[in-house]
């Protein structure tokens, strides 16, 4: 078989797969066969490219042409034009929203320009189902050199030196965590990879597992060697079937090569990995809850101490790290801790992967150095706010985090700055909100989530969040009372102060931070009975401008509750008492006569 002249990298991340990227691959195969090119062009299904907004995305190698929003029908044209004739298919190129020009090389796209990819280094580059491609990228070399050339403590020192902090939320120093688990004496220890990514709007870990599963396996084995464990467990959401499938393939391949199993690379080190499934419980992201869930119990957290490093899975010392943390480990060993420390800022080293979503032009998965500002992320990488609207806030850290506003735009993103701003890193969800988003409603949305996901073990979280949610509901319904704001604040602080686990302790953050930054919106709801963002239906009224209405009757016909009356060719009227505020009339009106206020 000759050498491939071209590679076509097709994103097979969940997002692109949902838009038929598998079909695209099939069509490419057919088109290549028809043109007798199957030996010249290799098609590679890869992990997430990150640029989900424009999915499905494909990349042509070696000229690095980046095609976006590709349909299965486009495959034939790409083969005929790009491969056969060497002409770029211009209509599939990314158009820079500012210059309105086609950009063909991804490196010149604003989305990729400011990114540095460590955890995502192989995502969108290799075929995650082929261990050879991982090995070709120096895969398992870090594990090899650690177990053949270092003592566990030496290896831990490298991690400590790198100042890597846990990427799952809290930001606990990873090396220290490993050291604590190493120091616990026990015949059996465990390495656990927390892949129970439950933040609504976050998909970093899933993308890594889908795009580069071996990096996590390799890191877990390194961790096992360091702490003295020979069993690793990956606890993954059952909602991630693709990641599970890729992990299973990866584990099998690693075993076949002897990179997992007994006497790895001729050493005395044995290590193997099994998979446990979550079953839909956000709280299981909390490590003690996760461990209980792994043991087949209800995922209820327990009070720490004892920490898992002392007593974890099956009562044995257990080191729990999340996916992204692990994905950083092999590069740290390959390139050295001092290299790692050159990236990032004073207190937070390396990069952080964010799932950028919401009202931003470029939704997707990004990896930026710690210390990058929000402005760079939202406007340079994210391409600014959708539909030219005004930026209002960005929610980081999911239900545990808070909202950052205009005034935080130039704050460098790192663990400490986010906490100081009333939010937190969380696992890396970043949802951008614009002028149309009501901050009270956003707080309510997160509370909805927390109420549904609270495990119910401790009273403040079980009842307190429910009460907060009810108060927010009341406020968005226009039934808020003056005392509610004070009560809400007290309640939020007490829940924060008294809840049992991290989920409960951080659950009031969306409320507290929106109160800190958007108190005027709360006041407007409670005091003036107005929703400044025009989101809270109960506070809104539809009305017809008699000067604009021509009496076409379209609105009255579309109204589901017959709240609109009026004679033909006469201005119509909305009966506010009957109106259910569905908005159908406004959508239908061709004369812009119906408004919401």
């Amino acid at each position: 078989m000759g050498k491939f002249k071209n590679h076509i990298l097709v994103c097979l991340g969940t997002g692109c797969r949902a838009s038929q990227s598998e079909e695209i691959i099939r069509n490419f195969k057919t088109a290549l066969e028809e043109n007798d090119l199957e030996n010249d062009v290799q098609i590679v299904g890869t992990g997430c490219f990150g640029f989900c907004e424009k999915g499905p995305v494909i990349k042509m190698v070696p000229d690095n042409t980046f095609y976006v929003l590709v349909n299965p029908e486009d495959a034939n044209e790409i083969v005929l034009e790009h491969i056969v004739k060497g002409r770029k298919v211009e209509r599939l190129l990314y158009v820079d929203p500012e210059t309105k020009k086609h950009v063909s090389d991804s490196k010149h796209m604003g989305f990729y320009k400011k990114q540095i990819r460590i955890a995502l280094r192989n995502c969108g580059f290799i075929n995650p189902e082929n261990i050879d491609e991982y090995i070709a990228r120096d895969g398992y070399a870090a594990l090899g050199s650690v177990i053949s050339e270092m003592t566990p403590q030496e290896a831990i020192n490298v991690v400590k030196d790198s100042e890597l902090r846990g990427r799952g939320g809290g930001g606990f120093p990873t090396g220290l965590k490993w050291e604590l688990t190493k120091k616990s004496n026990s015949d059996q220890k465990y390495v656990v990879c927390n892949a129970d990514e439950g933040d609504p709007g976050a998909f970093m870990d899933r993308s890594i597992l889908e795009g580069d599963p071996h990096s996590v396996l390799e890191a877990m084995a390194i961790c096992g060697y360091c702490i003295g464990a020979n069993v690793g467990v990956i606890y993954i959401r059952a909602e991630y079937p693709l990641a599970i499938q890729r992990l299973k393939i990866a584990i099998q391949q690693a075993r076949d090569y002897g990179l997992l199993g007994n006497e790895i690379l001729g050493s005395k080190f044995n290590f193997d990995i099994e998979i446990r499934y979550g079953a839909g419980a956000f709280v299981c992201g909390e490590e003690t809850a996760l461990i209980h869930s792994m043991e087949g119990l209800r995922g209820e957290p327990t009070v720490k101490p004892p920490f898992p490093a002392v007593s974890g899975y099956k009562g044995k010392p257990t080191n729990v790290n999340n996916v992204e943390t692990f994905a950083n480990i092999p590069p740290i060993f390959l390139k050295g801790s001092s290299w790692f420390k050159t990236i990032g800022n004073e207190k937070s080293k390396g990069t952080k992967v964010f799932a950028l979503a919401g009202k931003v032009n470029n939704v997707g998965l990004i990896e930026v150095p710690m210390g990058t500002t929000l402005r760079e992320v939202i406007f340079d990488i994210g391409g600014g706010i959708k539909d030219g609207k005004k930026f209002k806030a960005v929610q980081t850290g999911g239900p545990s985090g808070g909202c950052l506003t205009e005034k935080h735009l130039d704050t460098p993103i790192d663990y400490d700055n986010l906490i100081a701003s009333g939010s937190m890193m969380g696992s890396g969800g970043m949802v951008v909100l614009d002028e149309d988003d009501c901050m009270v409603d956003v707080a309510r949305f997160y509370l909805d989530f927390t109420v549904e996901e609270s495990c119910g073990k401790c009273a403040p979280c079980r009842i307190g969040n429910k009460r907060m949610n009810e108060m927010l509901e009341k406020i968005t319904m226009g039934k808020g009372e003056e005392d509610d704001i004070i009560r809400l604040k007290n309640l939020a602080n007490v829940i924060k102060d008294t809840s049992l686990c991290g989920l409960g302790q951080t659950s009031p953050n969306p409320v507290l931070s929106t109160m800190d930054n958007f108190m005027h919106e709360y006041v407007a709801h409670v005091h003036d009975k107005k929703c400044p963002a025009k989101q809270c239906k109960a506070l809104m009224q539809y009305s017809i401008d008699p000067n604009k209405c021509v009496g076409c009757t379209l609105c009255s016909r579309v109204c589901p509750v017959d709240a609109i009356s009026g004679e033909r060719k006469e201005p119509h009227k909305i009966n506010a008492a009957l109106c259910i505020k569905c908005g159908a009339c406004m959508e239908k009106c061709k004369f812009g006569a119906i408004s919401l206020s």
Binding site: G13, G15, Y277, G296, A357
Partner: protein, 157 residues
């Protein structure tokens, strides 16, 4: 005396499933996943038998089943409709889509239509945030769904 009524082949299936996990009660969640895959849901009888096989109390099994939202004791519709209510989908209008589905099918979230054709559920982030709001029906994914498209989508089935 409690009686569990199950067909012989189902009894065998469950027993084999439990055996695959060494009848280890620590594997309960994996066993439940397996059983839900086989039966589509987890009826009481199945839970009773799993409890028996893993030597744990059925209360414990139910405590676990009722804790995790992935497990269901109700059979799903032939076409299970799930609407992503992750933040990205929410801020891009998922709630309106849910309301529309509720109205069109005349059922609540979590319920199944009387004819067993559709069931409606919300889930948290399927990870296709670029396509927000996202609706899945069975294995099929619909992206960038607006409330007005709901009728058309339902009509496909």
């Amino acid at each position: 005396m409690t009686e569990i009524k199950l067909s012989e082949c189902n009894v065998e299936k469950i027993k084999e499933l439990c055996k695959k996990f060494n009848n280890d009660s620590g594997e309960l969640i994996n066993v439940l996943h397996g059983a839900q895959e086989v039966f589509g849901y987890l009826p009481a009888e199945v839970q009773e038998l799993i409890a028996e096989e893993l030597k744990v109390s059925v209360a414990h099994v139910y405590g676990v089943v009722s804790f995790y939202s992935f497990f269901s004791m109700l059979p799903k519709g032939k076409f299970p409709i799930s609407i992503c209510m992750g933040t990205a989908c929410y801020v891009r209008g998922a709630e309106k889509v849910v309301d529309e589905f509720k109205q069109m099918l005349n059922i609540k979230v979590g319920d199944t239509t009387p004819d067993g054709k559709f069931s409606l559920s919300c889930l948290r982030c399927v990870g296709a945030c670029g396509l927000a709001p996202v609706v899945t029906i069975g294995d099929k994914v619909y992206g960038r769904v607006s409330a007005s498209e709901v009728k058309k989508i339902i009509a496909e089935y």
